[in-house]
């Protein structure tokens, strides 16, 4: 097995040896240039947006609908543009390059980048506009990407950033100068905003002075899982191709694997609903203590570029010939295909995530919190590493270092999450902020404090869960039996796929294919055995299937608990706010945990609870309605109970539980 170092180079290495200033001031050589590049200053771009037919068309419409003067609307458009626009500036960038080099060197041991990916991208940058699509797990993603492109003498990207960054005055301005432009989080049907935004992005894309960069997930994933893709920007990017304004668009999925996420604590708290501090510069400064910390390494993998043209082969673009190109039009078929492209991009990203040893530790530890010894863990993790490699999962497992040392090193980086006791026992920290404090978990507050640690560990486990989701769902589909007919297995699997659309995103049009491929893979690896009718778990496979099942079942239990709550608390006919419901369920579960009846702290994740509610809505179990105060949901106990019953086919659920609020141990044992 080749190590990460074999096909990735550490771009921090030269920064440890050479001068940062020289780095920042270096002449950029051989910067690839799009062959039809159109150079415009940020000001010219803005002027072009304001002059565009698209904007004029929308403004004419709005003006006649709302009876407003066109001038007034133009002013508004101008303001939107001012708020949005980047101001990429090489001088700022160069001065920042020194600072970044310094910051990265302090925070990280290594930043590994696959050169081959850079080379492929470099070649294609001359041929067509390029869109960089990194995974989004940290604020640092922006800076990291620009830093890497600068390092490799590539044109710097224009980055679509969430408008919440603008609140940070100083950082916001810096981001602008680094090529960041800002998009409001929700502007749904604001046609003026759409027009300005679309035109702005498309001009930058077709000019192609540098690649466009945005995150398919829309926002940072705080859970380690992949968020279901947002299609807005991708549609905006696809339109110029569909309407012939560019010969092609090259999509470059990028997988960024952090050994330790800089803002992991914030994420954990957010998942529990502890309000995150508004992005502010002073908040960032407070974060200065992070410089004393060791965040391990980052592996950045530039995946094989995807040609949008190839992806859109089946589309008859001539359908757009009958409408002027400035009127947004995408056929349902195109929209479906764009969704599918987004899913495929995510699949590629997922396939190239690198699992750190810590991720494996987290996956094991969460299955048996506070009950591993170092020896047991070492052997389990070593087994896990070999096992998952069979499934093509890449593990950053240093060659020639003992397993125990590797785990030690992982613990050192994540010292705030686990403690190793003298007798070899390994326990979770009680609290994220003061690992040594004692926390009383018989109170709800105590439970929530301790839960943050679980959230954090679960986030790392989720890297693995996301990559092995299909194996996990297939394993669950056995429902605790050791054999099953092909058809039944697929039927159960399909239910889980539907239930978990929010949890584990995947391309629905490839569902069957993926199932078949995964079953074959499990068979090839000796975990399953099959003939034409039946699929069986082999003796060797028992441990694997059990591992996969245990990894996934907390999610299922969480969904089941949500159902229990809904059944016990019928909604009022006008509905209840979704956010509030999630919060209420969380509190109920916290109580149950504080009573010692349930040990799965990770179910307290508001993300999981909200996902469950959303999934039930998609399945038509909950009815969702818009209101002025956000979406309201309502349900009938009966249809919810059908889902609960279905879930209970997969995992052992507490049988004595007639009501959600009734006392009794809520035990989770996989049906094995």
């Amino acid at each position: 097995m080749a190590g990460i170092q074999d096909n990735h180079e550490d771009i921090l290495d030269p920064r440890r040896k050479g001068s940062d200033i020289r780095f920042a001031l270096q002449t950029l050589r051989g910067v690839p240039e799009y062959k039809y590049i159109n150079q415009q200053t940020p000001k010219e771009v803005k002027e072009q947006v304001l002059k565009s037919q698209r904007l004029r068309h929308v403004i004419e419409q709005l003006s006649s609908e709302k009876g407003l003067e066109e001038d007034v609307i133009y002013k508004e458009a101008d303001a939107i543009l001012e708020e949005m626009g980047h101001n990429l500036n090489m001088t700022t960038l160069r001065s920042l390059a020194t600072i970044f080099a310094n910051i990265f060197r302090q925070l990280f041991r290594h930043i590994y980048v696959n050169q081959s990916g850079i080379q492929k991208m470099r070649a294609l940058m001359k041929e067509s506009p390029v869109v960089l699509l990194p995974t989004h797990r940290s604020y640092l993603d922006f800076l990291l990407m620009s830093y890497i492109l600068f390092h490799y003498h590539l044109p710097l990207p224009f980055i679509a950033a969430g408008a919440d960054f603008m609140q940070m005055k100083f950082v916001g301005e810096i981001l602008r100068r680094c090529g960041g432009f800002f998009i409001r989080r929700s502007f749904g049907s604001d046609r003026l905003y759409w027009a300005v935004f679309t035109e702005y992005v498309q001009i930058n894309l077709t000019n192609s002075e540098g690649p466009l960069e945005f995150f398919v997930e829309g926002t940072r994933s705080r859970t380690g899982k992949f968020l279901s893709p947002k299609l807005g920007l991708l549609s905006v990017v696809a339109e110029p191709f569909l309407k012939g304004a560019v010969p092609d668009v090259t999509l470059v999925p990028i997988s960024i694997s952090y050994e330790r996420i800089v803002e992991e604590k914030l994420h954990a708290q957010e998942m529990l609903g502890i309000p995150k501090p508004k992005e502010s510069t002073s908040g960032l400064l407070k974060a200065r203590s992070i410089f004393q910390e060791d965040f391990g390494s980052i592996v950045v993998h530039f995946c094989d570029p995807i040609s949008l043209r190839d992806q859109m082969k089946s589309i008859d673009r001539s359908r757009h010939n009958l409408i002027p190109r400035f009127i947004f039009s995408a056929t349902p078929e195109e929209q479906r295909l764009i969704g599918s492209v987004a899913q495929d991009v995510q699949q590629v990203q997922r396939d190239h995530m690198i699992m750190s040893p810590w991720v494996l530790c987290a996956a094991c530890l969460l299955q048996r919190p506070d009950s591993y010894t170092l020896r047991e863990l070492t052997s389990q993790v070593a087994w896990l590493k070999d096992m998952i490699r069979q499934y093509g999962i890449q593990v950053d497992w240093p060659v020639g270092t003992g397993a125990q040392d590797i785990i030690h090193s992982a613990f050192k980086i994540h010292h705030s999450l686990v403690k190793q006791h003298k007798d070899g026992e390994i326990t979770f920290s009680r609290s994220l902020h003061s690992p040594n404090a004692s926390v009383d978990t018989s109170t709800r507050e105590g439970v929530l404090t301790h839960a943050a640690v679980h959230m954090d560990i679960a986030m790392y486990r989720n890297y693995l869960a996301a990559s092995l989701a299909v194996q996990g769902l297939v394993s669950l589909s056995f429902c605790g039996l050791d054999k099953c007919s092909q058809d039944e297995l697929y039927e159960q699997y399909q239910f889980l796929v539907k239930l978990f659309t929010e949890e584990f995103t995947s391309n629905p049009s490839h569902s069957k294919q993926k199932f078949d491929r995964t079953v074959s893979l499990l068979v090839a690896c000796g975990a399953l055995d099959h003939d034409r009718e039946e699929v069986r778990v082999t003796a060797k496979g028992e441990r694997e299937i059990a591992f996969f099942t245990d990894m996934m079942s907390p999610f299922l239990l969480g969904y089941w608990l949500v159902c229990q709550y809904l059944m016990a608390h019928p909604s009022s006919p006008q509905g209840v706010p979704i956010k509030q419901t999630a919060k209420d369920i969380q509190m109920r579960i916290a109580t149950i945990i504080s009573q010692g009846k349930l040990h799965h702290y990770e179910i307290l994740s508001l993300n999981l609870l909200t996902n469950a509610l959303t999934a039930l809505t998609h399945m038509g179990i909950l009815v969702r309605e818009k209101s002025d105060n956000g979406p309201l949901i309502s349900w009938s106990a009966e249809s919810v109970s059908r889902v609960a019953d279905k879930i209970s086919e997969f995992i052992q659920v507490p049988t004595d539980m007639t009501s959600f609020s009734q006392p009794g141990e809520v035990a989770l044992t996989a049906k094995l």
């Binding site: 012939g244 010969p247 008859d316 673009r317 190109r325």
Partner: protein
């Protein structure tokens, strides 16, 4: 002789301008000489009388005596490689282009993989016994012979009319043989003879393929391989008279077989012209133009064929279709002319056409403007169209084509310096942004009275200045037009050296002109690579016509194909991809070449299912037995 001089004018872009014509020969005397030869030959041959104007057709019935049987144009005109000096030169003195072309070699070498030592000889003349034997319908043959109408079963005559000028056709001629060729060639002399021929064909269920100049690039006259009936190639070339000229109404009634050059020559005797000048006008016919909806380069002044036509007479299996008056416009239901225009020989034979004609313009002047890049050039022609101040012709060549044009300069002038120097003399300071690698040229042709031309020039050049253009002289303009005639000859030379070259065209809305040019180039390059073409292709585009709402774009495309076992198949795949790209980008299936059999697969998508039904309905009704069975369009 006054009329001769006028012809020289019309043929200006074909021939040497009088002042440069040092040896004193003028094109007209050439024509005369040739026609003399033709006439004597004609009398030997079929005993056909010459036209009302006292002279026989410029091109003989046995066209292969004067024209290449397996290539473009006159036998005595071609590009050749001097084996000693290894220089390319143009043989023959019918055109302004002649003699050694020292810069052309250098240009050729910019085509990746080109090696002039690699020869791919065409097969020598095909022996008569290798040419498919005719299928004979005895009853028909008997009737037609009895009618006294001119005909032949000669294999070479039949082979000559088996094809047009697509790459596919020429490859077949150079390397193989057509599966199916016409079984008989018939030369009707007038409308009535056509009526009789069509009646006989209906009676005996014989297939007719009308044949004008054979210059189509759509496989339109090709015999369908699955046609088992006897096939008549109905050659219209003997119907080349001007039947009358009405100078009050400025109309002329003309037989449909007349070739473009002859038409203009004959009209010039009346001080008139049609102004319809497709690039193929030396060899294409009036009937062919009507049947394909042709477009001439001077359409800005004279209109396209559909604008010029006042009355059409067509013989169908159901009888003659025509209107009862000769008026510029009428509102009498859907215009029947538009069923005939573009029918591509599927409904009947166009026999006589009344055209509107114009007085010969006293002044004609070329011009050219260079721009730093293609984009600015496009903005310029767009603005000219917006202001509706386009001269008779305005064409924008991209950089590749511009350089190609420059490479056809005679040795006396140096390729760049002369152009750049002459510009420098005028524009000392402005020439900065002009890079030979990106600059482009717009060629212009002005026609009208002296004053009109002067006014047009002033207006066009002032728009040009606004868009960063620099006027670059008459010579460069004229060279541009000459180049388009030369290109047709170059293809034969190219094929001698393993180079495939072909052209295709489209119309696009203005806002998509640049995008289409770029995307088609990109697509071709990609498809070449994907189809194993070992060398990068050379692709050039030019905007050849401007309209209020869009423009016609013409692409040339060539590549070295050595090493590909099935070059034509590969080429067609690439062209299909390019066409798909054009249509996907908002372009039309064709601006003027037509459909034939070559572009049939795209027809339905272009005109909708119901549209196809309508076309089919007309065809089935007018020609229920599919006598006009060339299988074009549908």
């Amino acid at each position: 002789m006054a009329s001769n001089r006028r012809i020289d004018n019309i043929l200006g872009h074909l021939s040497t301008p009088p002042d440069q014509n040092k040896d004193g020969t003028c094109i007209h005397s050439q024509v005369n000489k040739l026609e003399k030869k033709n006439c004597s030959e004609l009398s030997d041959n079929m005993g056909k009388e010459s036209g009302v104007n006292g002279r026989g057709p410029r091109i003989p019935k046995r066209r292969q005596d004067l024209l290449k049987w397996n290539g473009w144009g006159f036998r005595d005109c071609k590009f050749v490689l001097d084996p000693v000096k290894e220089l390319v030169s143009f043989e023959g003195d019918r055109y302004q282009l002649r003699g050694p072309l020292p810069y052309f070699n250098t240009w050729l070498e910019t085509i990746e993989g080109v090696n002039l030592h690699a020869n791919r000889e065409a097969q020598p003349d095909i022996q008569a016994d290798k040419i498919p034997k005719p299928i004979i319908n005895d009853g028909f043959l008997e009737d037609i012979k009895r009618s006294g109408i001119s005909l032949t079963l000669d294999p070479h005559d039949r082979l000559f009319r088996a094809h047009g000028h697509t790459l596919h056709d020429l490859f077949t001629l150079r390397e193989g043989i057509f599966e199916r060729i016409p079984d008989i060639v018939i030369w009707p002399d007038c409308h009535d003879e056509v009526v009789r021929i069509v009646n006989m064909c209906v009676k005996h269920n014989v297939c007719i393929i009308p044949y004008g100049g054979g210059t189509n690039v759509t496989r339109a006259v090709e015999c369908p391989a699955n046609e088992s009936r006897m096939i008549v190639s109905l050659d219209t070339s003997q119907m080349n008279r001007i039947l009358w000229v009405d100078d009050k109404n400025l109309t002329a009634n003309i037989e449909a077989g007349i070739f473009g050059v002859d038409l203009e020559e004959k009209l010039s005797k009346y001080g008139l012209c049609s102004g319809h000048e497709p690039d193929s006008c030396e060899f294409s016919s009036l009937g062919g133009w009507v049947a394909t909806r042709a477009s001439g380069m001077k359409k800005n002044v004279y209109g396209n064929i559909e604008d010029i036509v006042v009355h059409i007479r067509m013989v169908t299996p159901q009888g003659v279709i025509e209107k009862n008056c000769q008026v510029p416009r009428m509102s009498t239901g859907p215009d029947l002319h538009h069923i005939i225009l573009g029918s591509e020989g599927t409904l009947g034979v166009v026999t006589e056409v009344t055209l509107r004609v114009r007085p010969l313009p006293p002044c004609r002047k070329y011009g050219s403007v260079v721009f730093p890049n293609f984009e600015q050039g496009v903005h310029f022609v767009r603005e000219v169209a917006r202001q509706r101040c386009a001269p008779a012709s305005i064409r924008l060549m991209d950089n590749v084509q511009f350089r190609f044009g420059m490479s056809l300069k005679p040795p006396s002038e140096s390729i760049w310096t002369s152009l750049v120097d002459s510009l420098k003399k005028v524009y000392v300071t402005k020439l900065k942004g002009f890079n030979p690698e990106t600059m482009v040229v717009t060629t212009l042709l002005f026609e009208g009275t002296k004053e009109e031309v002067a006014a047009q020039e002033k207006r066009v050049y002032s728009v040009a200045t606004r868009f960063g253009g620099l006027a670059s002289g008459e010579d460069n303009g004229q060279r541009g037009y000459m180049m388009t005639f030369a290109i047709a000859y170059i293809r034969d030379f190219a094929m001698d050296h393993y180079i495939i070259a072909e052209s295709f065209e489209t119309t696009v809305p203005w806002d998509r002109v640049l995008d289409v040019c770029r995307n088609v180039k990109e697509r071709i390059t990609k498809e070449c690579a994907a189809n194993g073409v070992p060398y990068a292709p050379i692709i050039m585009s030019r905007v050849t016509q401007t309209y209020d709402a869009g423009a016609c774009i013409y692409f040339y495309f060539a590549y070295m194909y050595k090493g590909i076992p099935n070059p034509v198949e590969v080429y067609e795949k690439i062209e299909t991809a390019a066409r798909d790209e054009i249509i996907s980008n908002g372009g039309s299936l064709s601006h003027h070449h037509g459909i034939g059999k070559h572009r049939k697969p795209f027809m339905k998508g272009t005109v909708s299912d119901v549209g196809m039904m309508a076309l089919r309905a007309v065809k089935d009704r007018l020609d229920p037995d599919n006598i006009f069975g060339n299988q074009n369009l549908m």
